[in-house]
């Protein structure tokens, strides 16, 4: 018999807490978070946005291509529930995107989201004291809201994620937050660059390249960010349609970049 939602939620907290301790990899952690959100909270897709320190939001993880598009659409058009959630620091919960008042509130986002097949959005701020560092956004294809138990569970997941991003359990200063977020955004860019390298080398799409990268990272217990660095440095090449990889680097430890010629 399947475990109850409560048990699976508890398992997820243990899983996330584990990743916080050894070989912490923020990008893997955030992707896991969006996937578990979908499994546990009865939603159809999830996406995660982080503030880039310059006043803009950046997409860092999404459970599906549709969620990715919905997040990017909001960033590019500077409107939508996730943008409002970030600006206000308040949960924004929309049960029916097709409603007339929603179309008025977000004239570009509402029709686009409906066209993508989304009917409901629940956006939760990732908050450290009075600073909002990003948002976790849950999308539903059916027009009904998140029930209160799921909303509470989502809130708890977001709190865990916030701690994960900031790593340091006692962040004292705004400076430290800026430093951590900046490193997270560079990891994201590095993964995109590695996806491009693999996509070209193996004639696959960037999305397929990401699946290859991620599968290999999991099977070999290599943090995603370090594996992306290996691919970029040319010290690892992931072979298509298997988890084989050629590597010349020791599997653990901090990635030191050799000086370029």
């Amino acid at each position: 018999m399947a475990a109850s939602v409560g048990e699976r939620l508890a398992q997820t907290f243990v899983e996330l807490a584990d990743t916080l301790v050894v070989g912490f990899d923020l990008m893997e952690f955030l992707h896991t978070l969006t996937e578990r959100s979908v499994e546990l909270l009865g939603v159809d897709a999830a996406g995660l946005l982080l503030a880039d320190g310059r006043g803009a939001l950046r997409m860092v993880a999404a459970s599906t291509e549709q969620a990715r598009v919905a997040e990017l659409f909001q960033i590019q058009n500077d409107e939508g529930p996730c943008v409002d959630c970030y600006r206000s620091g308040q949960v924004v919960s929309i049960s029916d995107i097709g409603a007339a008042d929603i179309a008025k509130r977000w004239p570009r986002f509402a029709p686009a989201a409906s066209q993508m097949g989304f009917a409901g959005v629940h956006a939760i701020p990732m908050q450290l004291r009075d600073q909002v560092i990003g948002t976790l956004n849950l999308f539903r294809t059916a027009p009904d809201g998140l029930d209160s138990a799921a909303a509470r569970a989502a809130r708890a997941l977001v709190d865990v994620a916030t701690i994960g991003i900031l790593q340091e359990r006692a962040v004292r200063q705004q400076e430290l937050v800026a430093e951590q977020l900046q490193a997270a955004l560079h990891s994201r860019v590095m993964i995109e660059q590695a996806k491009g390298i693999l996509a070209e080398r193996h004639h696959v799409t960037p999305d397929q390249a990401f699946l290859m990268l991620r599968r290999y990272a999991r099977n070999n217990n290599r943090p995603l960010t370090l594996l992306a660095a290996d691919v970029i440095e040319g010290t690892a090449d992931i072979v298509k349609s298997s988890s084989q990889v050629r590597t010349r680097q020791p599997p653990q430890g901090k990635a030191e970049r050799p000086a370029r010629p």
Binding site: D52, G53, R54, G55, A56, R58, M59, L72, I75, Q76, Q173, Q174, E175, A178, E179, Q180, Q182, A183, H186, S187, R188, V189, M190, I191, E192, Q193, A194, K195, G196, I197, L198, A199, E200, R201, P206, A228, A229, I232, E256, R257, P258, A259, R260
Partner: protein, 240 residues
């Protein structure tokens, strides 16, 4: 460009008189003037040990850079490795971390130092370093502007190699485009197509966008969709 990027770029161009392409020196002077600090410097780096000063707004900035080089310590070397800014509001609080550098830097008159890696993912080109005589953190607004100064400095350094900074209407930062994942994916793809580093692939992608007067994100999307391929050989806007 985003409002912030446009504003910062206007500050930098205002710090430069003449018709020549905007030099990194103008960026250092604008940073010193606009970020609530007393000086700024840019150093090109191609690894933790390869450092080359590009410009400094004043003597103490140049001296701090030299001290970091000679002692092998300081925020510059560390944040180049780590990839996130190093914001030191109180130099006195990091004496134990870099004993050689900090005592000399404080004696020379630096009370606070803030350094920003010039970086886009695995592309790293150097570092922007700011100092202030008085200790204290950067204000939130200055910090946000400081990150944009670093974004622009990275692109000025890279674009100098392709000559596109001399193009009429050159803008280093296309805010909307650069938030698109395709830009970084295309950079990876082009590096394989041409057999070059990510740095060079990024320069070639940018040069192509400038030369064809297209948005960077649109050119990148075309590369990712396999509508555009880079072949070894001359590219528009690319020096041989």
């Amino acid at each position: 460009m985003s409002d912030r990027a446009a504003r910062v770029w206007a500050w930098i161009t205002a710090a430069h008189d003449g018709d020549t392409p905007v030099p990194v020196a103008a960026l250092c002077h604008a940073a010193a003037l606009r970020l609530g600090v007393d000086g700024a410097s840019v150093t090109a780096m191609s690894g933790p040990v390869m450092r080359e000063p590009v410009c400094a707004s004043d003597e103490l900035s140049a001296r701090l850079e030299e001290l970091q080089f000679t002692t092998g310590e300081g925020p510059g070397a560390d944040d180049f490795r780590v990839g996130s800014p190093m914001l030191i509001a109180e130099m006195g609080s990091v004496v134990a971390r870099w004993p050689g550098f900090v005592s000399a830097a404080m004696a020379a008159g630096a009370g606070a130092m803030f350094s920003f890696p010039l970086q886009a993912g695995a592309i790293k080109a150097g570092i922007l370093t700011l100092y202030r005589a008085l200790p204290g953190p950067m204000a939130a607004e200055e910090l946000a502007n400081g990150l944009v100064f670093a974004d622009i400095a990275l692109r000025l350094l890279l674009d100098a190699s392709s000559g596109v900074i001399g193009f009429p209407g050159y803008r280093p930062l296309d805010g909307m485009s650069e938030s698109r994942a395709e830009v970084h994916q295309a950079t990876g793809m082009i590096s394989v197509q041409l057999g070059v580093s990510l740095e060079e692939a990024f320069v070639r992608l940018r040069a192509h966008a400038f030369a064809s007067n297209a948005a960077l994100g649109d050119v990148a999307a075309e590369v990712v969709d396999r509508g555009l391929r880079f072949a070894p050989g001359a590219q528009p806007g690319q020096e041989p």
